[in-house]
Subunit: 256 residues, 2 copies
């Protein structure tokens, strides 16, 4: 019985995709069977694991809007134990097509329930928005992992995100909990970064991972080759950060 984790934050560019790809890949390297569902029309998770977005036959959109069989949409990746349901541009129109649907917030949940027993962990990479597609991810999830960039606007947006999570928990998904708050793109030389770290630890206390993901050029380069950091450069600081995160994630889930 796999666990479903949405990776969400409506603030753009805070490391949602980078966390989705690299945490999933590190768990796969630690022998867990992991599925990544890309629910962003930008399809960065898809291209970041080396899948050609233009060659995608069945996408998240097809599962959500055209009723395609999600088991058929699952693709293997170059990383053993890591699988993905890819995304593409079609997902842009999902927001409009779901609006007038009965139980429109539960479409992703119906997909995930068909896959849950095939994986140890299922991660849903969501787009920077509070719209229907993101609400679908939060409704389908057991927990939500929130990457927070160590910058002012990212900190500023946490209140908004907390409201959305509470709203989904009250109306759609009473079981929804916070999996963890991940401090990302940290640069220790910046005063602001250290300010954000202490504010976030103050706000969210033990929910904040001990592991911090430091800004690291190899993390930015890896998607260019379509590989997670652990496959791109096993000795880089980025790989060490994400392996530590994967181990901490497993410890918090009593799974190591």
């Amino acid at each position: 019985m796999g666990k479903v984790i949405a990776i969400a934050n409506q603030k753009g560019g805070v490391g949602k995709t980078t966390t989705a790809i690299n945490l999933a890949a590190c768990l796969a390297v630690l022998e867990k069977k992991v599925l990544l569902i890309d629910s962003d029309p930008q399809a960065n998770s898809t291209s970041g694991v080396g899948i050609d977005v233009n060659m995608v036959e069945l996408s998240t959109y097809d599962c959500m809007v055209n009723g395609a069989n999600p088991k058929k949409a699952v693709l293997p990746t170059d990383t053993p134990n890591l699988f993905i349901i890819p995304s593409n541009i079609d997902l842009v129109s999902a927001e409009l097509q779901l609006v007038n649907l009965e139980r429109r917030e539960f479409v992703m949940k119906n997909i995930v329930e068909q896959l849950r027993n095939d994986f140890d962990y299922i991660f849903i990479d969501s787009l920077p928005s509070l719209g229907i597609v993101t609400v679908n991810a939060l409704t389908a999830a057991d927990t939500v992992l929130v990457p927070v960039q160590c910058e002012f606007f990212s900190l500023d947006g946490l209140g908004l995100l907390q409201n959305t999570i509470n709203g989904v928990k009250q109306r759609l998904n009473p079981e929804l909990e916070i999996e963890g708050i991940l401090l990302s793109m940290y640069d220790g030389r910046l005063r602001l970064a250290n300010l954000v770290v202490s504010e976030v630890r103050e706000m969210f206390k033990e929910k904040v991972y001990d592991t911090i993901i430091h800004r690291n050029s190899k993390i930015g380069e890896a998607p260019n080759i379509g590989q997670p950091i652990v496959m791109y450069d096993a000795t880089s600081k980025g790989t060490i950060n994400f392996l530590n995160l994967a181990k901490e994630f497993l410890t918090r889930n009593n799974d190591n």
Copy 2:
């Protein structure tokens, strides 16, 4: 007769808000009368110029959905000649409320046409999405300024954005042109950044500004105090970059 410029890129965290605030503020310092319209529910432009989001009476949402008078929504900021129509969380629901509206893509255009003669330049800061609120900004605009972060995913997303701009130009706004492509958050030590610069200059040729905005810690700090960089630290590299951009912008508009 003021010019209307949308600042757009569906990729999150590429510097849309940072460009909107700082280019608008530098033009204001160069004696242009400038309006910033914040059309992102995160309201980063609003808080970035020092307006308390919780004290906002009339917002972009009120103008778009409740028919409020946009002239009444315009607020002065601490920067002389710089004005703003603030945003707040209400804008999250605008996407759903506009869906079934007649001529739903032209709502922002109706607002802008009432204000155009009061300003030299009107900038619309948009959210990281290709949904109705962003399409409204592109339909209302004369041109679109596209910040591109010097990273892989940002480069990868340019094709998607080009499609959206072409779609809006064909269906909704035949006059829409590219104002310019701005390379942002540039760190010359990174191999990837230099790769992105040469690819973008190859793709968009003379549309790319000569001015590049370098990564600079003061740019990230300024919003924490609710000030544009030119007011926060007039001697910083960030201020010099944005003043150069403002001058280049005026030259390209035969306005200096």
